[in-house]
Symmetry: C2
């Protein structure tokens, strides 16, 4: 973790910055190992300051690395406290990862004439996008736990259960394998609601023949996983099977192209062209995937507008889908680690559409 | 829900605004019943526009109320799309709920000279803080489900289990009662880690005599609940029981003062003074509580700096705590509805410290 702040410092120094202010608490966790702080100021030289309210102060002192932990009293304004420190350090040009407009305007007024503020979110993303060996160990474990959740989903799903009841079994199985919690809100969307990519899960009963999109993920020691399978509660119809097979082929096609150096938009195009050729192009209503790590949606984004070129160590989802309003939705998704020559799925589970076929 | 946009409009009109831009997706849900949008523009007269990416477009058309759903194409910049609409509507003074500095600066440049932008987050909070009958029904249900989670927590907890294993049973029980998911990351923090208010839960085994802080909450149809109990895995020591009793009395004292018209800081002071008099003041390291509803932390905040005066329909947590590093932490928390003459706990569970005493 020491390396991470050093790496960031050498990147922002190269950009001509004399300091960097981190306000995003996931970024702060990435750099210090502690997530309960409200700010981290990294000058180009000297000590880093971590700003923490009383509620988390003792935990910060016990857990945060490579920084001086500063208590923010309740009657003190955070932006003024940080502003004073920036002045004292004579930082002329300060990068930051993300500020609200209100915080930005206050800080700018406080620093007027002395410090230029510059949004430089990408600097930290350049680091976070490429996972280290230790991070990958945790992501592998998160993927395995997610696979266990999906195994139980296959086992559990049957007509008569509610969507929430299926989610209950999935999440319980993942917790039993030491999941630190869900990576996002579990989706078990059945019937016509499966046509909404973010259908959530409700008290609706699953009926025989319903298409069911199950999108789930475990977290392990802060690292996340993400996986979707689509099942039919019963024997699939011909049309269901046909559409499913197209999505499956699209996922495989994109997956096979994954390697260092490939452009993100090329991957999206590979899956999209296959779906378009099959006549379902307009029903693939989202991008192919997204990066994943400490957050469920991170760079690199895999869509038609993406300027990203994949690197070994990136972890991304590959998740084509076809969503037909009034009929149903189909999505297949895995979390995939990018290697020099290939991709590696971190989320193991069979690809079967029909219930009881696994 | 129609009333909500109308109410907001009459408030912002009173403030001299010609329009209001909502970017926070919980606020958007509150106003339209749909949470998957990226912006909502409300002019003082005429139609409201909801901005939605392709992935959620069909669901928005099916679920969003009182607005015209506008598709945001992937190759279009959201701020430019919204900026053009603001220009076309000739909005001279636009309030907003929350913008990132980057979005704000882009929008300001686009609108230069024509539209003034003003952060007016409080306008929506004025509405959201006071829950309607329908909202309270959902919060009551969330509270009941949370109570069931706590019942199972009491039943489950025993030495030898890991913190995560206890969380597994809690969350499973809540899901079985139709929880839509946890309201926040479940905390089961045992032993010395109980002294960290945000201790999370880990693979650590609970040992006999450990203090265990269990902080949990269910969500029901988007509405959240929040509750904490502190238990000892075994027979409590005299010191454990003594500190627990102080926290319990502090909670009851603050709770008894709840009614419309009371100042938030008065409630905090009531609990704090009791804990101070008992000699543990410096160990009560956070405020007394927070509002709760669609989000787990909302206004009105209950702490020593709060300027809030409670109103009937507010829902707040009351959660004093004593945290002694190296020894352990104690917190008792309920979600409480404010009535004209009294408070009402929405999170039912006994208050017992010793395991097996319930």
């Amino acid at each position: 973790m020491e390396d991470r702040i050093d790496s960031l410092r050498s990147i922002f120094k190269e950009k001509g910055l004399d300091g960097y202010l981190v306000l995003n608490n996931v970024n702060i966790f990435y750099l210090t190992g502690f997530s309960g702080a409200v700010g981290l100021l990294i000058p180009v030289k000297g000590e880093n300051t971590l700003y923490v309210y009383g509620v988390n102060y003792e935990q910060a002192k016990a857990e945060a690395k490579n920084c001086n932990v500063m208590l923010v009293e309740r009657n003190v304004k955070l932006e003024e406290m940080i502003g004073r420190k920036i002045k004292a350090l004579k930082i002329g040009k300060l990068g930051f990862d993300g500020l609200s407009s209100v915080f930005y305007l206050k800080l700018r007024r406080l620093l007027r004439g002395n410090t230029r503020l510059k949004a430089e979110n990408r600097l930290i993303w350049a680091l976070r996008k490429v996972k280290t060996g230790q991070e990958l160990e945790l992501m592998r474990k998160a993927g395995e736990i997610t696979g266990e959740g999906m195994r139980v989903a296959y086992e559990t799903l049957k007509p008569g259960l509610t969507e929430i009841e299926v989610a209950a079994e999935i999440e319980y199985a993942m917790r039993k394998k030491a999941s630190w919690g869900t990576s996002f809100e579990t989706i078990v969307a059945s019937g016509v609601r499966s046509a909404f990519p973010h259908g959530g899960c409700t008290e609706k009963q699953i009926r025989k023949g319903d298409i069911v999109v199950m999108d789930l993920g475990a977290t392990y020691k802060h690292y996340r996983s993400d996986m979707t399978r689509t099942l039919v509660a019963g024997k699939p119809s011909k049309k269901q099977q046909k559409i499913y097979d197209i999505v499956r082929k699209a996922q495989e096609k994109a997956f096979k192209r994954i390697r260092e150096g490939v452009r993100a938009r090329t991957l999206d195009a590979a899956a999209r062209r296959l779906i378009e050729k099959a006549g379902y192009g307009k029903y693939f209503v989202h991008g192919l995937g997204h990066g994943i790590g400490l957050e469920v949606h991170e760079p690199p984004t895999l869509n038609s507008q993406s300027k990203e070129v994949l690197k070994a160590g990136n972890v991304v989802t590959v998740e084509p889908g076809i969503y037909i309003v009034g009929f149903g939705g189909f999505r297949i998704e895995d979390t995939v680690l990018v290697h020099k020559e290939r991709g590696e799925r971190l989320t193991p589970a069979p690809y079967t559409l029909g219930y009881g076929q696994s």
